[in-house]
């Protein structure tokens, strides 16, 4: 019973050639059946490679799928399921897979040993970057990206369960079944397209029936439980804290626009069972990487699951009984088989020739294996014709997921691999090969035990079933890591690391596992050394005369298999990366010609373009004119608004703000400063006392997260005795600035009634029946108000305000005009409040109340914060008529050297002021207030400008402030 359906042929292409496979095939199985042994070129030496394995650990048969934007490099041919029209390409070969010019690297191998590049390419000094590195970069790498944006769809999901069972082989199936019957909410995940693990690849029976039949029955029962979710094609890729797992699900079939390709799962599990089995490993002997050299279990698996006979003349080279099943099954399928076993007492298990006490010492065949040399115990060498060499050096348990949180596997001599100790990871049970239960019967029993253990930990009462009848032999093994013979013996096929490389590392003092890994790159390839780590450790232990058990291991890192950036970053493409915040009158602004720009998380109107206007500068100048000459309206809803209430709210704000809020009367506003604990200015903005126990605190747009942490730490952490509640109310309100000499006229026309409102006062108002607040304040220096209405009225209100403004000869204004208006007035933004400035630096020192007691008061008096020589806010005007100014230039005394010592400061904000008729800037200047009237050099080498500027007071327009108070 194979896993393919010969009634469903599927046609795909490999390097342009049409290949036929069947439903259920992988690219590797179909290519093998079609006789295509050469599938790839190796990473460093560009050696011809075929397929080694049949799982996700495949180190050699990496291919590129698709073309154009969908081009996906480095896919394991062993994991890609066929679909009609699939395009598969070989990679890392030029001009063709069969003839690759970089194969010349292989000839130079004696000079290209581990780390050779650290010892050369150093002269002349610039040659590395100019000459050598480009050559090395082009030679390295595997597949290629298309260069086109990936617009395919992937998705992410969260899931929760009582028990996550990882791996649906015999152990995992029994663990899931045992826990499911006890009532646990179970997720069973397996990376295969079909569940069953190794059982799908073997001829042995379980419970007296073919293993695949038994698997189907168990899966049928599991699927019938409402508390079980089955996730095939899902690789659990990482274990994270507190029972969080990452997993990647591949969706089968051709790409379709309406369907994701992959789903990245975050699974929160109270308990887990790790039943990920083991993968077979190679033996390091010369020529162990030719196309046709395969793992013994893979050869068996291709036969049983895919109906593919990997060779007609097969040599088995194995040090364990388990692998002899490959010889038995291939011989039974009609192949001519010779088994080579280093154990002198090895016994044949079927109808094949056996060379006991012998080793494979060489192979031949450039793009496909042709001959194999074996050496018997007496040292005699014999050459055999062979098209397939099935190798088994034993099995490496897949313990990686257990180690992501820091647990270490331990060497088990009987298993011949590293396994997990029972309680190595909290809330995770181990079953099957990962804890050393390697026979089918032991794995089934261990699965039952692990499922029962997990169920009990969940407070359930499992009834462990009797394990089904199955093979009890784990297969005796005699460790054999490497064969002593001349020639290159590969340890890590994925990175072309040989025994000799590891021995060299040891000789150069880099024999500790982590050093050897970094120096030779063994274990750093796409398979993270799953197949090669134990062999490398054994070679190193040998070279450094240590016991393998004491040599230590390298650290397994997530992900267990490589995860595409598009899957783990699903949803992040385009605008999905961060929410776009839109003010409530966004559409109204667009309808009036607004050009929107990104302002932190918000989209805001930069300017409102009118017919005939050439661009932003013209619109901006007009809008400034509206405010200075008539009336302008602007959407300021994006300002962060905290609604603060409670009997102690005034006391709380008095400790938060540098000026006294206690004394504020209901209906009064106060411009306030907030310092950080370290005494620097954090925010400036108005505080409004709406009622005795009710305040609004305004801070800059987008500052909510930082402000909320600041306020809540103070309220809940510092002063939990204060009765105060804080509500982040930004998006509950729409707020509009109405500024200009005719602001009052405008409001009289749109409000239900216009209250008499003095500067820095607030009152309740209505507009068309909507209840809101009118605040008398100004960020433009003109007679100004801000009208706050519930957000749902924002759109209508803004339209009405713009209409009214236009009727009075004004109009809407945007961020550009707002910026000009505030620079003319010397008002601040975060270009000046840059996190390094103190209140005094910005001319606001008088706003720090002398009695202290507010956040930041104590550290604001540190010596360097009050010493002379600090950069202070000033204004700048150009000396040359008509010159422009830009932010970012640095200031020097004319004639002084352009060096950091003489760097006096920089321009923070600059504009072309239509009001003043010249460019105007703000700057932070060393001892600036003592330099008013000086002429300085403004150097902006980055933009290639160099000019003289005159230092002025920050306020360049209406210095007395009469217009705003009028």
């Amino acid at each position: 019973m194979t896993g393919i359906d010969r009634a469903q042929p599927i046609t795909f292409r490999f390097d342009g050639r049409t290949v036929q496979g069947f439903a259920g095939d992988t690219v590797a199985s179909a290519l093998l059946r079609a006789g295509q042994r050469l599938m790839a070129r190796s990473f460093k030496y560009h050696r011809p490679r075929g397929v080694l394995s049949l799982g996700s650990e495949e180190p050699s048969a990496l291919v590129t799928l698709g073309q154009g934007a969908a081009q996906t490099p480095n896919q394991r041919a062993t994991m890609v399921e066929l679909y009609d029209g699939l395009e598969v390409f070989s990679q890392n070969a030029w001009p063709s897979l069969a003839f690759d010019v970089q194969g010349v690297n292989d000839l130079a191998a004696p000079f290209l040993g581990a780390g050779f590049y650290y010892k050369t390419f150093m002269w002349p000094r610039r040659a590395w970057f100019r000459l050598y590195e480009p050559i090395i970069r082009r030679a390295a790498g595997l597949g290629a990206l298309s260069g086109k944006a990936d617009r395919g769809t992937d998705e992410k999901a969260f899931s929760f369960c009582d028990l996550l069972v990882i791996g649906a082989g015999p152990a995992g199936l029994m663990a899931a079944l045992t826990a499911a019957r006890a009532g646990a909410d179970v997720i069973l995940a397996d990376e295969g397209a079909a569940m069953g693990g190794r059982l799908l690849y073997e001829a042995e029976a379980v419970a007296g029936k073919p293993a695949a039949e038994w698997v189907a029955e168990v899966l049928e029962e599991l699927a019938g439980w409402p508390n079980v979710r089955l996730l095939p094609r899902t690789t659990v890729t990482g274990q994270y804290d507190h029972g969080t797992f990452a997993a990647v699900e591949r969706l089968a079939g051709p790409p379709a626009p309406d369907r994701p390709r992959e789903c990245f799962w975050r699974i929160a599990a109270a308990q887990s069972v790790l039943a990920t089995g083991a993968i077979e490993r190679l033996i390091a002997f010369p020529g162990n990487d030719r196309p046709g050299v395969m793992l013994a279990g893979a050869v068996r698996g291709y036969l049983h699951r895919y109906g593919v006979q990997a060779g007609r003349r097969v040599v088995l080279f194995a040090n364990n009984d388990d692998a002899h099943r490959t010889a038995r099954d291939l011989a039974a399928a009609g192949a001519e088989v010779v088994a080579v076993d280093p154990r002198a007492d090895a016994v044949a298990q079927g109808d094949y020739a056996l060379r006991a006490g012998a080793e494979v010492v060489a192979t031949r065949g450039r793009t496909a294996l042709r001959r194999v040399a074996l050496r018997d115990g007496a040292g005699r060498v014999e050459w055999l014709e062979a098209d397939c060499l099935a190798v088994s050096g034993g099995w490496n348990p897949n313990t990686q997921l257990a180690c992501h949180l820091g647990a270490k596997p331990v060497w088990n001599e009987v298993v011949g691999g590293f396994v997990m100790a029972p309680d190595a990871v909290s809330d995770m049970a181990f079953a099957g090969a990962v804890m050393g239960a390697c026979s089918t019967r032991d794995a089934l029993a261990a699965g039952i035990a692990a499922g029962a253990k997990a169920a009990r930990a969940l407070g359930l009462a499992p009834v462990p079933p009797d394990p089904p009848e199955a093979e009890a032999e784990a297969g005796a093994l005699q460790l054999l890591w490497q064969v002593a013979a001349p020639g290159r013996a590969f340890v890590d096929l994925a990175n072309d690391v040989t025994v000799k490389d590891l021995v060299l590392a040891a000789a150069e003092g880099m024999g500790a596992p982590e050093h050897a890994k970094r120096y030779t790159t063994q274990g750093m390839a796409p398979d993270q050394g799953r197949g090669s780590n134990s062999t490398a450790l054994a070679v190193l232990a040998d070279a450094t005369a240590r016991a393998l058990a004491d040599a230590g291991t390298t650290t397994a890192r997530p992900p267990f298999v490589p995860v595409s950036i598009s899957a783990m970053g699903a949803g992040g493409a385009g605008k999905g990366f961060a929410p776009v915040r839109l003010p409530p009158a966004h559409q109204a602004a667009l309808d009036h010609g607004a050009v929107m720009i990104e302002a932190g998380p918000w989209l805001r109107a930069s300017h409102f373009l009118r017919a005939g206007e050439a661009g932003w500068a013209e619109a901006c100048a007009r809008e400034v004119g509206h405010v200075r000459g008539a009336v302008g309206v602007a959407d300021v809803s994006t300002l962060s608004r905290f609604d603060i209430q409670g009997p102690d709210a005034a006391q709380f704000l008095t400790r938060i703000c540098t000026n006294t809020i206690n004394s504020l009367q209901p209906g009064q506003l106060r411009y306030s400063l907030l310092l950080r604990e370290d005494g620097h200015l954090m925010e400036d903005g108005p505080v409004a006392r709406l009622a005795a126990e009710h305040f609004w605190l305004f801070t800059s747009s987008g500052s909510e997260p930082a402000m909320r942490r600041h306020l809540e730490l103070a309220a809940q952490g510092y002063w939990p005795d204060l009765r105060v509640r804080i509500f982040e109310a930004t998006e509950a309100w729409a707020q509009f600035a109405i500024a200009g000499p005719r602001a009052r006229d405008l409001l009289a026309g749109v409000l239900d009634a216009l209250p008499e409102l003095a500067f820095m006062r607030a009152a309740r108002v209505g507009m068309g029946g909507a209840e809101g607040w009118l605040l008398r304040l100004s960020y433009s220096g003109e007679l100004g108000y801000e009208l706050a209405l519930p957000a749902r009225y924002g759109d209508a209100a803004f339209r009405a305000l713009i209409r009214a403004a236009e009727a009075l000869g004004g109009g809407a204004y945007g961020l550009e005009a707002m910026n000009v208006l505030r620079i003319e007035k010397g008002f601040l933004t975060h270009a000046e409040i840059d996190g390094r400035a103190t209140a005094d630096d910005l001319g606001l020192g008088r706003m720090l109340r002398a009695s202290g007691g507010f956040i930041g008061a104590d550290l604001a008096t540190r010596p360097a914060l009050v010493a002379p020589g600090r950069k202070q806010l000033v204004g700048l005007t150009p000396v040359s008529v008509g010159a422009t100014l830009a932010a970012g230039g640095h200031l020097f005394v004319p004639g002084a050297p352009l060096d950091p010592e003489n760097d006096l400061g920089h321009v923070t904000s600059a504009c072309q002021s239509p009001t003043l008729g010249h460019a105007q800037a703000l700057a932070l200047l060393r001892d600036g207030r003592a330099r008013l009237g000086e002429t300085l050099r403004l150097w902006d080498g980055l933009r290639g400008t160099d000019q003289l500027v005159k230092v002025t007071a920050p306020t360049a327009y209406d210095t007395e402030g009469g217009r705003a108070r009028g």
């Binding site: 804290d241 507190h242 949180l405 809540e712 939990p720 104590d858």
Partner: protein, 83 residues
Amino acid sequence: MRLICPNCGPRDRREFSWIGAASLLDRPAPGGDFVAWLHLRDNPAGPLEELWLHEAGCGALLRASRDTRTHALAPLTLAGGAR
């Protein structure tokens, strides 16, 4: 990472913001040693008393004891006491 909020139960770490070491709660009175309080840290490799804000949840400021070597974490408590 999953944190157990006393108000909301176990929640993903994404709902929380780390605020700082719990020593922040011992804010000096005016005139006290603010330099040491704000800057110096025990910074243990081991159990750390710390503060989290359940920002995308109930809004409570929470106190945790977490081992910085393993991230082992007991259920959190309200930093400001029951409010």
